[in-house]
Structures are given as structure tokens and as C-alpha cells.
């Protein structure tokens, strides 16, 4: 959206708008209360309509969590062809409703249009204290970088279309994509977070680069610590890589330095666009332990959470992958 070079909106209450490549808009209502608004929708990434609904809702809610907010209301956005059974639409909406309920929010309505290809998503409104808004701009040298979900959903959904992904791996991807980022968000706020974004269409490196730019720092990532979904390396090696990963590479390649031993396949995984990806969190090194303690008290979505790198002073690259 920001690439359209729309004229910037100036309003003293608009705390976060388009210009910083952040996850959602934040608008101050009073000294103690701000609205967070975000919208996302897309075509089915998996065949099961109920789980697709859950994925779309977890993905839309994630922007609220990434900015330190609490989801309040959601509106459905639906495109659906009249040639498909109506039960599919019911299942999609039920999946979305169940996930929104799990987040403690409510679906207050929505809008549907007839279209050739199904699409589903939500516009979500959340609340946050204006003093506690988390953006991608606060990372400081000395911070550790934590990623809360494994990479590879773009490659897996491409592989599913080719019928080359095992049921176990499909299930692992669905579990990851339907997991709310709520637990990680609570843990990062308890520990004292400096910056956060969620990993979606620009891939790990794209969103990490945005954080580095917005925070005026450079990031170091350790390839060996970055969590992947199962089978990802094999699927990428076979050429089951979505077009978005190549676009991300083209856009970013001059901003990133890769150590020599990083393989071409590994690089493409780091550029892989994610659906309902994890949070990417910068917090002070001395708070790393308290983050993981707070997270481990939660029940769900902690399995793949890992420290994957650190923040340094600004160098002549945005990201070093070693």
C-alpha cells in the first residue's frame, strides 16, 4: 500500500499511519485509549474451509497483537462464487468466528460480494494504551531478536497445490497458521519489548528489514537458529517456491549480506512469504529469560519460539545472515 505514494495523512491523533510500514493504524481517542485498525483477506491457502477460516482470522488478528493491543471487534469480508456449495462458506465463517472468539473478541457483522474465487478475511479493531503502542521502530543495539513461529507456510501451500506435502506436514502448517499470536504478545509485554512486527507477505527478511530501517539499526540473524516447518528444505530444493519469495528477494537482495555457507535453498526460505506468521520481537538481552519464562506459562504456540539473532549499531547493510 505504501508503494502507491499516497500523500501522507497528517492528524495529531493518528499515532501510526502508512509511512512507517507498520502492521496497523493507531488512532488516539483519549490520553489513555487508542484504536488499532487493520484489515487483511486472501484466497484459500488450504483446502479445508473451516481451517482456512481460522487461518484468515488468526492472520488478521495478528496485527493487533504485534502492536501491543487487545482485539475488540471484527467484521467479515467475504468473496464467494455461487457455483460452490454454501456449506463451504458456512464452514469458513465458522472457522473465523471460532478463532475470533478464542481471541476474546466478537464478530459484529461484515460484507460479502459474489466473485469467481473465494476470498475471506477480517477488518479488526483493537484497543491499546497510547503509551504502550509497540511499533517496529524501537529496536536498540544489544536487543535479542525472537521469532515465535516456524517459517515455510508459503512453500508448503505451494507444495500442497502440487500434491507433494505429507499429511503430517500439512497438519503442522495448519497448527502453526491457526495459532493466535496472543500468548507471544502477552509474554513480550510482560518482559518489556522494544519493537515488534509480525511476519507475513514480505517474509522474515522483508519484515526484519523494515524493522532495521524504522529503528535505524542493523540486524544479525543466525541461520542455524531459525525455525522451519518440516519438509521445507526438500520442497524448496524441488522448486516449490511461491512467486512472492522471488519478489521479496528482488526487492531486498542489496540490503542483505549472507555468509558464504548459506545455501540458495536456505535463502529462499528466508524470503518465503508467510501466512499468519509469527511475531518478530526485539527486546533487551537481559529480558530474554523473563520472556521465555512468561511464554512457557502459556499453553499454546510456544513450541517453535526461538531467539534467532541480535540487534547491532547501524552498519552498511540492513541484515547479516550468518
Amino acid at each position: 500500500m505504501r508503494q502507491l505514494h499516497l500523500s501522507p495523512i497528517k492528524d495529531q491523533n493518528l499515532l501510526v499511519g502508512l509511512e512507517t510500514s507498520d502492521d496497523a493504524a493507531v488512532y488516539k481517542l483519549t490520553e489513555d485509549l487508542a484504536l488499532i485498525q487493520t484489515i487483511d483477506f486472501f484466497t484459500p491457502v488450504i483446502d479445508d474451509p473451516y481451517f482456512f477460516g481460522q487461518v484468515a482470522a488468526a492472520n488478521a488478528l495478528s496485527d493487533i497483537y504485534a502492536m501491543g493491543g487487545r482485539p475488540l471487534l471484527a467484521l467479515n469480508i467475504v468473496c464467494f462464487p455461487n457455483c460452490l456449495p454454501l456449506e463451504w462458506l458456512t464452514a469458513i465463517l465458522q472457522g473465523g468466528a471460532d478463532k475470533v472468539a478464542e481471541a476474546g473478541a466478537i464478530i459484529a457483522g461484515g460484507h460479502s460480494v459474489q466473485d469467481d474465487e473465494p476470498k475471506y478475511g477480517l477488518a479488526v479493531t483493537g484497543l491499546v494504551s497510547p503509551q504502550k503502542v509497540i511499533t517496529n521502530a524501537g529496536a536498540l543495539p544489544g536487543d535479542v531478536l525472537i521469532l515465535t513461529k516456524p517459517l515455510g507456510t508459503g512453500i508448503i501451500t505451494t507444495g500442497i497445490k502440487a500434491d507433494l506435502v505429507s499429511p503430517e506436514t500439512q497438519a503442522a502448517a495448519v497448527t502453526s497458521m491457526t495459532t493466535l499470536n496472543a500468548a507471544a504478545a502477552m509474554a513480550m509485554q510482560a518482559a518489556g519489548v522494544h519493537a515488534c512486527t509480525d511476519i507475513t507477505g514480505f517474509g522474515l527478511l522483508g519484515h526484519a528489514a523494515e524493522m532495521a530501517l524504522a529503528s535505524n539499526v542493523s540486524l544479525e540473524l543466525e541461520m542455524g537458529k531459525i525455525p522451519f516447518l518440516p519438509e521445507i528444505e526438500n520442497l524448496a530444493f524441488l522448486g516449490l517456491i511461491p512467486g512472492g519469495a522471488y519478489k521479496n528477494r528482488e526487492y531486498l537482495v542489496n540490503e542483505i549480506i549472507f555468509a558464504e555457507r548459506i545455501t540458495a535453498t536456505e535463502k529462499m526460505i528466508l524470503f518465503d512469504p508467510q501466512t499468519s506468521g509469527g511475531l518478530f520481537i526485539a527486546l533487551p538481552g537481559e529480558k530474554e529469560g523473563s520472556f521465555f519464562t512468561a511464554l512457557n506459562r502459556q499453553e499454546k504456540g510456544t513450541l517453535f519460539t526461538q531467539t534467532v539473532g541480535r540487534v547491532t549499531e547501524k552498519k552498511d547493510y540492513l541484515i547479516l545472515v550468518k
Binding site: T158, D163, A236, F237, L238, G239, L240, I241, Y246
Partner: protein, 76 residues
């Protein structure tokens, strides 16, 4: 030579078509026509992962990929 026309398809279809072409013609060179850089890269990755060399010719609208099994010369 077997020729696969994967123009007009987005990934992963060109990869799937090429995979079937290689499986159905073991030990034979296979030519694949694609119309995007993404398909060119993904089909090249597949071919290399299966032990083929890849020669790429740019066409007016797309690319011609000539896939040769690496052992074809020694096995005749």
C-alpha cells in the same frame, strides 16, 4: 526430444508438469517452455535436484529450458 509447454501456468503447475515429464522419460533430455522468471527458476531447481543440467535460452516471450540427464553421455 520431449517438449513440455508450461506457458500460461503459474507455480507450482510448471514444476508439476516438468516432474511428470522427467518421470515419464527417464534418462532422456526434456525441453520445457515457460513464460515467467519464477517458473524458469523453479523448474531449474527441480531439474538440478533430479540430477539434470539446465541450459536456458531466452525467447521473445519467456524461456526455453533444455534439461539433460547428467549421466546421459556415459550411458549412451
Amino acid at each position: 526430444m520431449v517438449e513440455i509447454d508450461a506457458c500460461g501456468f503459474s507455480c507450482p503447475i510448471p514444476v508439476v508438469k516438468t516432474m511428470h515429464g522427467l518421470e515419464n522419460n527417464p534418462g532422456e533430455p526434456v525441453t520445457v517452455l515457460v513464460d515467467s522468471e519464477v517458473s524458469r527458476e523453479n523448474v531449474s531447481r527441480l531439474a538440478q535436484s533430479k540430477g539434470y543440467t539446465v541450459k536456458i535460452e531466452a525467447l521473445a516471450e519467456g524461456y526455453k529450458l533444455i534439461l539433460n540427464p547428467q549421466s546421459s553421455e556415459s550411458t549412451g
